[in-house]
Symmetry: D5
Amino acid sequence: MLFHVRMQVTIPDSMPTERADLLKSNEKALALTLQQSGKWRHLWRVVGQYANVSVFDVDSNDELHQLLSTLPLYPFMQIEVTPLAQHPSALAAN
Amino acid sequence: MLFHVRMQVTIPDSMPTERADLLKSNEKALALTLQQSGKWRHLWRVVGQYANVSVFDVDSNDELHQLLSTLPLYPFMQIEVTPLAQHPSALAAN
Amino acid sequence: MLFHVRMQVTIPDSMPTERADLLKSNEKALALTLQQSGKWRHLWRVVGQYANVSVFDVDSNDELHQLLSTLPLYPFMQIEVTPLAQHPSALAAN
Amino acid sequence: MLFHVRMQVTIPDSMPTERADLLKSNEKALALTLQQSGKWRHLWRVVGQYANVSVFDVDSNDELHQLLSTLPLYPFMQIEVTPLAQHPSALAAN
Amino acid sequence: MLFHVRMQVTIPDSMPTERADLLKSNEKALALTLQQSGKWRHLWRVVGQYANVSVFDVDSNDELHQLLSTLPLYPFMQIEVTPLAQHPSALAAN
Amino acid sequence: MLFHVRMQVTIPDSMPTERADLLKSNEKALALTLQQSGKWRHLWRVVGQYANVSVFDVDSNDELHQLLSTLPLYPFMQIEVTPLAQHPSALAAN
Amino acid sequence: MLFHVRMQVTIPDSMPTERADLLKSNEKALALTLQQSGKWRHLWRVVGQYANVSVFDVDSNDELHQLLSTLPLYPFMQIEVTPLAQHPSALAAN
Amino acid sequence: MLFHVRMQVTIPDSMPTERADLLKSNEKALALTLQQSGKWRHLWRVVGQYANVSVFDVDSNDELHQLLSTLPLYPFMQIEVTPLAQHPSALAAN
Amino acid sequence: MLFHVRMQVTIPDSMPTERADLLKSNEKALALTLQQSGKWRHLWRVVGQYANVSVFDVDSNDELHQLLSTLPLYPFMQIEVTPLAQHPSALAAN
Amino acid sequence: MLFHVRMQVTIPDSMPTERADLLKSNEKALALTLQQSGKWRHLWRVVGQYANVSVFDVDSNDELHQLLSTLPLYPFMQIEVTPLAQHPSALAAN
């Protein structure tokens, strides 16, 4: 089941660099794992912003919330989730 | 080059059904052709709305505008275009 | 799986009363059926507006879109869908 | 009498963890008590956000404000309250 | 129990004057009746707009919705309802 | 002359409690004085928010600004002022 | 007493030209009269829009509403009214 | 050439009073000078807000930006600039 | 003197094609003339929308308003005007 | 390929002046380099704001993101990117 997720990241300027770097590297590691598992199907950078547009393929709302809320950068994110359905004109099945 | 495109369709209630149906079937035919060509890479339905989220793969802004503005339903669409770049944590190349 | 759905209905003043009444009665009939089936779990009226807040219990995004988009009043609705997950402090399971 | 309440929580990153944890555990305890009393009838997590959608069943506006404003996390919440009425197509009484 | 209600009226220019005048006079008559009954406690005109700010004193959400939704101009109104509680610094009881 | 005033209060979490309490008690004292004088005619709490809706009865814009801007909590308020006029259907004179 | 008034005019394309022209000429005549009387103190055109920014000098909210609501183009206007006070750094008295 | 300028001032609560007072007095001095020069033609206080509405009379966009950006409070202002033109119904020339 | 102008065009679906085409061709002719004169310095199409971003080089606000308000499509445009000044890091003079 | 980019800069008041000045001078140096290379084609100051409107000429979305995200002030910017296409009435080729 597909969900469109837009993540806007805002890291306070006052955060020590080490902490920020650690968060980012942990975030990257987890993102790679989730992509390898197929859960995080698409991940694109929004040009000009510290934001991404993603598509997740999960079995339930709860699974999606669990994945998102355990991302290291989660506390510094504004997240919008849009459930997606099969489009009648789509060539590919979701 | 990838672009995230959100299309919200609003067809006036006053439009004769035949005209609306013709527009929709032409739209579907063109959407299928563009997907087959690889230009229209992803097409998903936004749950609960006459709207879709799509990803286009084109060579230029002009090409994207030409594709979008010649969609039969274009005059009845509100379209938001967001250019996408490669995300540093993305497993797959754009 | 639960989804929070807000439906704002706007019927054009120019619509003939008979057509409007037919749409409304068909809408009511389908709403009752879907509630009896357990799909449409909660349905409340927003005070002062031709709008409702509902909670649907469905198995997938696609099922939810199919239910919503086949509501007779669907073409006259602005719908916002918010996926819900289990709240860690909720007494009742979703 | 039912009220739809949306609570968005924002805890400053600068808050010491102990204080944040204490607030959250007190919040959870009170939430459970209010649910057991029937006042807090529904509590769902908004997927991807530190937010919930709830339905309260109270006897008056004043009672609702008293319940909300004494929640431990109240100073860190943006709250929207929407009064609900019986929907003419609702199977269940409010 | 007090509710703050803001009503913005938009009557289509295409509506025949007779129908508009009838709606308005019925609206005025009902407004006077509801004020005499004490339900419609305050009614003020927003300067420069076909809008009013009102305060209703009702026993329940359902009663408020019933009063508002049976106003003749209801189909041509955008209504925002804000439940009010006793302010700790208010001299007068609500 | 009546003005509708909505005051949203946001006190920074970092403010020492003593200072906050002093501000609040001074605010309450002044609010009571202004209500006794008839200037601050209505004061209601917005349910679920650190906000109030008020109606002031003053002789001029300048007087209203002087009253509002000398409220102890003024620097921590977002204020919206809406001038009110006599509604043609209002039973009571403003 | 000064009020800042922004008027955005939207005349439906379907309105017969004669009626629109008559409304506009009546509007202009009344605007000139009100300026001569000193009530309408400033009237400027917003560049690129069928809108104006004005400053009215009136004795009360009611007078302002009466002036605005009797403008011929009033039914086709979106109006925002902002009460103005004497600025402590202003050289000229209001 | 006239420009409508709305300035919303937000001074952080954490700023030492001396610094804030110095900024404000320098702001006032410069405002008086600019008004005497005719550049800053109108300056009004928005009732209930630390904001003003002004009209500047300058020879170019660059001159306006230079005046605004050298105001002592500029770093703490949200500024909206609206170019004004002669209104066809205005009695006075701009 | 430079102004950034964003024009969003919305032509009602009910407008006869001949009238729409005539408006568009007149618009194009005038646009070319104004570009040749140097007044309309830049004209770009916003991808995916019936909108453009332009830069005008004019001698005054009034001249800009005169140019914009006499565009054939003006009654069907939403226009935002932003005055531009010389950027301190700009290589080229405005 | 052209992109319209609006950059709004907000530097926290708490940032030491030296750091801010260094960021600004590095920003200016890079901006000049990018303009000399033709990548940063236009750079204008928005009157009254610490913001600019720019037009970039790049070969891809990725190149644009790389240029923007390596600007020294990038972490303190809100950026909106709008892809531009050739306007059918434009005299000059993009």
